[in-house]
């Protein structure tokens, strides 16, 4: 196949597809998935989707913008985009990221150092539209033409050509959702330009001005969380019921009596879980309860609206939604008079509340926040719970959630725990702050509309799949059970899909789960066999 040549200006030229996705272009996988049939053909979008939505970017859909009915509607959307573009560069509307955005707009030397750091660009077989600099360059030209210089004789000569029309706007909206916002590219930029930030800002422009965002993040995500209490749709009664069942299950499995404390005023710790754990991986909150109770911590969960779900999807697409959720979390911690908030195993919840909200919360809402990795390490290193590493005598590797590691610098606590409890722990390569995203970052893990799950499994998750297979390359025999420690709810969702897609559990006995499950599995005071070796 010849490499597709796509220019920056092509984004504005109407055509059925700007880029095509062909599996023969994708990066080959390592053994045992190096057979051509190991990756299914990339499924086309349905005829209905092609008819109904703007599908001219590539062969998938994340945002699903309905096709405008007429020229007038097209023009209205373009005008709104332009209005949003101008607002994005004002301090009043975007103090939150104005300085980083302006510097990234002004100083890219187009040296392409970022290209090879991007797992999506690499996995796609270097598809030109997935180059980290592609969407940034389109956006940069629009900014320079319509915000900075507003035309002028030298503008195109200096900044490059670009045309603003409906095709550009619609493709750019989709293209903002072909990046995991993992910022691995920014790490390699010699100047400090951040393509991840630019993707984030494009998403914000669409959401905050045009009301266009991925449904899973907005309508079924942050809006639902603020209205009902959780993006899972669970209200307080349902959550408490579910946790009661979990307590019963965990008590039965461990031989301990576990009762999760709720709304305990004056507790030292408010524990915030991603509520998805309660539904999809109930043993995770269960394991937290076992560890915290065994260690004798003073802790509580909250049944207040929003507080039983630590997620904050606004982090990925909308500053207003982000601030609303962060504020609720802080208000509830204040009301409970806790000493600190501890974030459960959810990477984006960690970064949202600890780092990003740090410059949103003021006064008595600025309650200290701590990562559960740190709390857990302190419990284990202090000997407050006893562990028997022999119970974890199977190959273990660690997936580093980008939000926790590259974007917060929490690297070693989880490793020190693993070195203590998992005798056959080995690193993926690369790891730590140089890790690769699981492919589900920035909300993708919960986005599966149309054939987007195929895109995640075949492209954005491909590099992580390669890393996992390589970490276990000498022990792929299905008789050896293997464990990918994944201390993040969204990453787990992505790995679950990835493992199912490529039959990793069925064929090679590779399973994933959180860190706390691995800890409880080797606690001496607990009945053996906490980890259930079955796909879930």
């Amino acid at each position: 196949m010849t490499k597709q040549r796509i220019t920056i200006e092509d984004i504005s030229k109407p055509s059925p597809k700007l880029a095509e996705l062909r599996k023969e272009d994708f990066k080959p996988l390592p053994p045992p998935l190096d057979r051509p049939d190991a990756t299914p053909d990339f499924p086309p979008l349905s005829e209905k989707a092609e008819e109904q939505y703007e599908t001219s970017l590539d062969d998938t859909l994340a945002v699903s913008i309905p096709k405008p009915k007429n020229k007038q509607e097209e023009d209205e959307l373009v005008a709104k985009f332009l209005s949003g573009l101008q607002k994005l560069f004002t301090k009043e509307n975007n103090w939150t990221f104005l300085q980083p955005l302006l510097l990234s707009m002004e100083h890219c030397a187009t040296c392409h150092t970022c290209s090879d750091s991007c797992h999506i660009y690499e996995a796609s077989g270097r598809n030109p539209i997935y180059r980290p600099a592609y969407r940034s360059e389109v956006f940069r030209r629009l900014y320079k033409k319509y915000v900075k210089s507003k035309g002028g004789l030298l503008q195109a000569w200096r900044d490059g050509e670009i045309e603003l029309n409906w095709t550009t706007v619609a493709r750019l909206a989709e293209l903002a959702y072909r990046c995991n916002l993992c910022r691995r590219c920014a790490q390699t930029c010699p100047i400090g330009v951040d393509n991840g930030l630019i993707g984030h800002e494009i998403r914000k422009l669409f959401s905050q001005e045009l009301g266009i965002a991925a449904k899973e993040l907005h309508e079924h995500g942050s809006v639902l969380q603020l209205k009902v209490g959780s993006s899972t749709g669970m209200n307080a009664v349902v959550v408490k019921d579910n946790v009661e069942f979990i307590d019963e299950d965990v008590s039965e499995k461990t031989g301990m009596t576990i009762t999760t404390p709720w709304d305990k005023e004056g507790a030292d710790i408010l524990l915030l879980h991603n509520a998805g754990e309660i539904l999809s991986w109930p043993m995770n909150p269960g394991a937290f309860a076992v560890i915290f109770e065994s260690a004798g911590l003073s802790w509580t969960m909250s049944s207040e609206l929003v507080a039983y779900d630590g997620i904050n999807y606004g982090l990925w697409y909308d500053d207003a939604q982000f601030a609303r959720v962060a504020l609720k979390h802080a208000e509830i911690a204040k009301k409970l008079k806790v000493k600190k908030i501890v974030l459960g195993e959810c990477g984006h919840a960690h970064k949202a509340l600890t780092v990003i909200a740090d410059r949103v919360l003021t006064g008595d809402l600025n309650i200290p926040r701590e990562s559960c990795m740190v709390t857990l390490e302190e419990i284990i290193s202090s000997g407050r719970i006893k562990v028997d590493p022999e119970r974890n005598d199977f190959p273990v590797t660690l997936h580093d959630p980008c939000n926790l590691v590259r974007l917060m610098g929490i690297v070693e606590p989880q490793r020190r725990i693993l070195r203590k409890i998992a005798p056959r722990f080995r690193e993926m390569e690369p790891h730590g702050v140089h890790n690769y995203c699981c492919g589900g970052g920035s909300g993708f893990a919960i986005m599966s509309g149309h054939n987007f799950a195929d895109w995640r499994n075949q492209i954005s998750g491909r590099k992580k799949l390669e890393q996992i297979l390589n970490a276990f390359k000498d022990e792929l025999d299905p008789s050896i059970k293997k464990f990918v420690c994944t201390p993040c709810s969204n990453c787990k969702g992505q790995l679950r899909d990835l493992f199912n897609y490529y039959d990793l559990w069925e064929k090679h006995s590779i399973l994933y789960d959180g860190l706390v499950e691995l800890i409880v599995n080797c606690m001496s005071d607990v009945e053996p066999g906490f980890i259930e070796w079955e796909m879930h």
């Binding site: 040549r5 920056i8 301090k91 009043e92 509307n93 103090w95 939150t96 990221f97 104005l98 300085q99 980083p100 302006l102 510097l103 100083h107 890219c108 030397a109 187009t110 392409h112 150092t113 090879d116 750091s117 200096r158 900044d159 490059g160 920014a186 790490q187 390699t188 930029c189 010699p190 100047i191 400090g192 905050q208 009301g211 603020l226 207003a320 939604q321 601030a323 609303r324 504020l327 600890t354 780092v355 990003i356 740090d358 410059r359 949103v360 003021t362 008595d364 600025n366 701590e370 990562s371 990795m373 740190v374 590691v405 974007l407 610098g409 929490i410 690297v411 070693e412 702050v433 140089h434």
Partner: protein, 318 residues
């Protein structure tokens, strides 16, 4: 008369160069505080930078003093600035083009310093020559060495970068006409300078004499016995002056804006402490009026960020 024009041109270009840097730096520094957006490794994290760790790894981190290491920052900044360590690590092919160009410019900055010292020495009546005293000899030979090394490296680097942008499809696609012009400007300036010294001013003594005039504001006519300036040296001075004034007006100003990109963003991990400066800044920006139009915000230009953050999605029910 000709020398006077050259002198005025150099003074003007230095003034534009400095004014543009100050103007842009102040403009960037005055932008409002932004949300934290650091990226690890953060070089000043004492004892943790080597693996990318942060103070957030510490239990109850807010109760402990934060340890910041200037040496840690220098350990990253010096190889990054001098040797383009990041490009070496992540884009080796490009480094072989980019490094000679950038390092050549650093060496040429060194040449300017040597010419200034040489100019002061000459103006003070001492000799800078192969036959002079120890300092005069050292300055003479060092200027010779640094001058040709800088011009040669810079020219090779800028030619290599220009060739890549012209002939490599991936690079050509992203290169604007102005980028070709910029690199071409460097190529022409450096080639003229190299030719000027190779043909007319081989030991840089003519240029040193010009620097002596720059330092002493000597606008007096040139004596008939002095050959300086030759036409080529004059063109060299004109082109170099124009280039110096032009650089900070373009995206090549990254030579100083990079400081903000690292210190204000990538390494900016300072926590918001109750009653501190950051909290005061946040309180101020939260008062900014919001005009985003989407239905879940409905910014009317009167509501501020506090109103938006505390209003919730109830507004959607309207």
């Amino acid at each position: 008369m000709a020398v006077s024009i050259l002198l005025v041109m150099v003074y003007a270009s230095v003034a534009v160069f400095l004014a543009a840097i100050v103007y842009r730096a102040v403009k960037i520094a005055r932008l409002p505080i932004h949300l934290r957006w650091e990226l690890y490794p953060v070089a000043h994290e004492k004892g943790r930078a080597s693996y990318g760790g942060s103070y957030l790894e510490e239990p109850d981190w807010w109760t402990k003093p934060r340890e910041s290491s200037l040496i840690g920052e220098l350990k990253v900044m010096i190889p990054e600035i001098l040797f383009l360590a990041g490009v070496w690590e992540h884009n080796r092919k490009h480094w072989f083009r980019s490094f000679p160009f950038h390092f050549g410019l650093y060496v040429l900055a060194g040449l300017i310093v040597l010419l200034l010292i040489g100019g002061i020495t000459t103006a003070a009546g001492a000799s800078v020559s192969a036959d002079g005293n120890l300092m005069g000899k050292a300055l003479y030979h060092l200027t010779y060495l640094i001058g040709y090394a800088g011009l040669g490296l810079g020219l090779v680097g800028s030619l290599a970068l220009l060739a890549r942008r012209a002939f490599d499809e991936d690079y050509r696609e992203y290169t604007k006409k102005a980028d070709f012009f910029n690199l071409g400007f460097f190529v022409v300036t450096l080639a003229v300078a190299l030719a000027a010294h190779a043909l007319a001013d081989p030991d840089f003594s003519g240029l040193r004499a010009f620097f002596a005039r720059l330092i002493t504001f000597d606008f007096s006519p040139i004596e008939a016995t002095v050959t300086f300036p030759t036409a080529l040296t004059a063109v060299e001075i004109i082109l170099a002056s124009l280039l110096l004034a032009y650089i900070p007006l373009t995206h090549m100003s990254h030579f100083f804006t990079k400081w903000f990109m690292y210190h204000d963003i990538r390494w900016s991990d300072e926590p918001n402490i109750a009653g501190g400066k950051i909290e005061r800044q946040i309180t101020a920006v939260l008062q900014y009026p919001v005009s985003w139009s989407a239905s879940h915000i409905r910014g009317d230009g009167k509501k501020n960020w506090v109103d938006v953050a505390t209003s919730g999605v109830e507004e959607d029910k309207e």
